[in-house]
């Protein structure tokens, strides 16, 4: 019996193998391994069509600066490497649209390249045109032209960077974005904390509040240029709403003697989810921004805080000490179906749902460290992305590929240390980079892509 069965199995297997091998006159090769390396790209300076003088310098200088911003953006991802311009075999002329790939660019080892042209129009605006080329296939991958006041050159460079990034990776770019954060000045015991904003690459630093009152936990609306944050304005900790474009702020509901904190927008930007503390008990509430009606979502004697919506708006992740120690929980939008998802050693705080929906980032406290990690939304697949003394407060890039957080150095015996700065890290845990900020910086919040009024 057994022998017959074995024989049957063997014959079946053999027939399958035989059929497979008989069918291919063509050689089949399975490729299951490769490398993960930056793709080499070339970014020649954008070429002016007539080197006119503009308000921000000669057109040729603008072309150089734009190419530099684009290069820095793409290199900062760790996915691309820029070929040194000093190694270029040829320079492009303003009437050359299609580069000579085979003789000038392929020998450099470049696999893709970006060319651009600038032209000053009679109305004083500048026309920027760029093309992304596949050097191996010798085809144009994407091309776009923009008309804008020349002062917007940096913005346009970010927009172009996004187009290149999205064509090369298949995902949305995140270069035309900004980051709000808390700028800290003064000695550690009497620190001024001001709301500040910068471009995603650290350019255009600006303060949004004066520093007379404490500001904490700024959070960007995922749909508008609006920020919600906690402020001790008039010495009362309350949640505020701040519109960047109109520069107006307003208090979010008046809860009299109660304290509100840890606000975050819903994905549609129409409501804010926050923590309200009443007689020492903290619970999570949802507030509709148009009606200002609040709905209580949790009611537990433990501390429930740091809520964050899933991108589809159906679920909320938060942290709670209801189980004895601080852990992450997921519940439905209405507060039902509360389920613990974190099960590792240590405590978990500040969960943030990825814009892609598949992961939750958090701060993990344990082994004498604060570290940034991610896990799947059911709590499986936990990975720590950083390993420094104190990293906390993760915020996602709008495409869910990069996280920013802030890092604090340990205090030393000479009264030094305790400095904080903003860092970014790739979802894979590679490519850790420090953001350039003029002062100590903490609690970053990444904006959604900036609105484009005139594009394509």
């Amino acid at each position: 019996m057994m022998k017959q069965l074995m024989r049957k199995i063997a014959i079946t297997v053999m027939m399958i193998l035989g059929a497979a091998s008989a069918a291919n006159a063509q050689l089949k090769v399975d490729v299951t391994r490769g490398n993960v390396e930056p793709i080499p790209m070339a970014f020649p300076h954008f070429v002016p069509q007539g080197d006119a003088v503009t308000a921000v310098g000669r057109l040729s200088e603008v072309g150089e600066k734009m190419a530099n911003v684009i290069t820095a953006n793409l290199e900062s991802t760790g996915l691309f490497s820029a070929i040194d311009r000093a190694a270029f075999i040829a320079t492009l002329s303003s009437d050359e649209i299609r580069p000579n790939f085979a003789t000038h660019w392929r020998p450099l080892g470049t696999q893709a390249m970006v060319t651009g042209r600038l032209k000053l129009l009679s109305d004083g605006q500048v026309q920027v045109e760029f093309r992304l080329w596949d050097v191996l296939a010798e085809t144009q991958m994407v091309a776009m032209s923009y008309k804008t006041p020349v002062s917007n050159w940096r913005r346009i460079a970010h927009v172009i960077s996004d187009k290149i990034y999205s064509r090369m990776t298949g995902e949305d770019g995140y270069f035309d974005t900004r980051v709000v954060y808390i700028a800290e000045t003064g000695d550690p015991l009497n620190r001024k904390k001001r709301l500040a904003i910068m471009d995603q690459d650290g350019a255009n630093q600006r303060f949004l509040t004066s520093g007379d009152y404490l500001v904490l936990t700024p959070r960007f609306s995922p749909s508008q240029q609006e920020i919600t944050y906690l402020s001790y304005f008039n010495n009362k900790p309350r949640v505020y709403l701040f519109n960047i474009t109109t520069n107006r702020f307003e208090v979010l509901g008046d809860f009299e003697k109660n304290m509100t904190f840890a606000p975050r927008f819903s994905p549609d930007g129409d409501s804010v989810i926050l923590t309200l503390s009443e007689d020492g008990n903290s619970d999570i509430y949802l507030m509709d921004l148009s009606t200002r009606n609040t709905m209580r979502l949790t009611s537990h004697p433990g501390i429930d805080t740091s809520p964050s919506f899933s991108p589809d708006g159906t679920k909320i992740v938060f942290n709670s000490d209801r189980g004895g120690s601080q852990q992450l929980y997921v519940m439905d939008r209405n507060g039902k179906n509360i389920k613990r998802i974190s099960h590792g050693n240590g405590r978990y705080a500040t969960p943030v749902w990825s814009p892609r929906g598949d992961l939750i980032a958090f701060t993990k406290m344990g082994e004498g460290k604060f570290r940034i990690g991610v896990m799947r939304t059911d709590g499986t697949g936990e990975r720590l992305l950083t390993n420094a003394y104190q990293d906390e407060g993760p915020t996602w890039s709008p495409n869910g590929r990069v996280l920013m957080f802030f890092r604090t150095t340990p205090y030393d015996n000479n009264g030094g240390g305790g400095d904080s700065s903003i860092w970014s890290v790739d979802l894979t845990g590679f490519n850790e980079r420090k953001m350039p900020t003029p002062f100590n910086a903490s609690d970053p919040a990444w904006s959604p892509p900036l609105p484009l009024t005139r594009a394509e």
Partner: protein, 286 residues
């Protein structure tokens, strides 16, 4: 009794080995998909690559096929066949299966004549003794000349399988094994080259579920005859397929960057002039 027991144990052990090999090797027989699908693949590559990548081996294979095999026919091909096998677990298994498949063919054919059926019926239990059968058939031949030809044919048919059956079954499988090894050598040379050229876009969402086939036509000098083609990849520019397009483009770039494909044996050009690379990122932990 003891012999029987030992035989039983031996056979049970063998079955366990074969069944587990099949179980582990054939993904559709097992329920756990994650781990087994990756681990056996790894083993497969390492072994073949090291064995076959040496150019000397790759050249040997085709030569041996034509000349020495007829000689071995008369010798102990059955005993020798396993010799090249130690390199691999998979070919051995196939060889074994081939033997199983081919043996029945020659034995069943001769048993056509009624005469034989009759003789089989007459003496069903004991193993047929060739001499005795000889006598009966010869007797028949003496009695009736009209059946002589037919009878003699069956005699030959009867005799041949006895002597030649083992060589016949093993020789084709041996050369098939050789050819398979040579093909594997080609595949491995190409694999090890393309590994260095493929830059996997590891950040693409669900990249570990992606797979793309790229077909290349090579000139004898190893350069691409024409631009590589995707096979059954559909419209890569369709909305919602941006991530897949990035993945597919990485594969296309790999085959372009890897050209010219050198170190391939000229005498096997027919085999490698048309290649289909199947890029599969399932081993990535996306």
């Amino acid at each position: 009794m003891k012999d029987g027991q030992a035989g039983l144990i031996y056979s049970l052990g063998l079955h366990v080995v074969v069944v587990t090999t099949v179980w582990v090797g054939m993904p559709f027989l097992s329920n756990e998909r994650d781990i087994p699908s990756t681990i056996p693949m790894e083993i497969e590559f390492v072994d073949i690559t090291e064995e076959t990548i040496a150019p000397a081996q790759a050249e040997e294979a085709p030569k041996e096929e034509s000349k020495p095999s007829p000689q071995k026919e008369t010798k102990y091909a059955a005993a020798e066949a396993p010799a090249p096998a130690p390199s691999e677990a998979v070919p051995t298994l196939e060889a074994v299966k081939k033997e199983i498949k081919r043996t029945p063919k020659p034995t069943t054919k001769p048993v056509v004549t009624e005469r034989q059926k009759l003789t089989a019926r007459v003496r069903p239990s004991s193993k047929p003794k060739p001499p005795s059968r000889f006598k009966t058939t010869r007797l028949a031949a003496l009695i009736d000349k009209s059946v002589k030809k037919e009878v003699q044919k069956t005699v030959e048919a009867e005799e041949k399988p006895k002597l030649k059956a083992p060589p016949k079954t093993t020789v084709p499988s041996f050369s098939a094994l050789k050819a398979k090894l040579a093909t594997a050598a080609l595949q491995d040379a190409l694999k090890s080259q393309i590994y260095g050229c493929w830059n996997i876009p590891s950040g693409v969402k669900d990249v570990h579920t992606m797979q793309v086939k790229v077909r290349v036509f090579l000139r004898p000098d190893g350069n691409l005859l024409r631009p590589p083609q995707y096979v059954d990849a559909g419209d890569l520019n369709a909305a919602g397929r941006e991530g897949y397009r990035t993945f597919a483009e990485s594969a296309r770039r790999a085959v372009q960057l890897c050209a010219p494909y050198e170190r391939l044996p000229m005498e096997r050009y027919d085999e490698w002039k048309d290649i289909e690379f199947n890029f599969d990122a399932s081993e990535m932990t996306g």
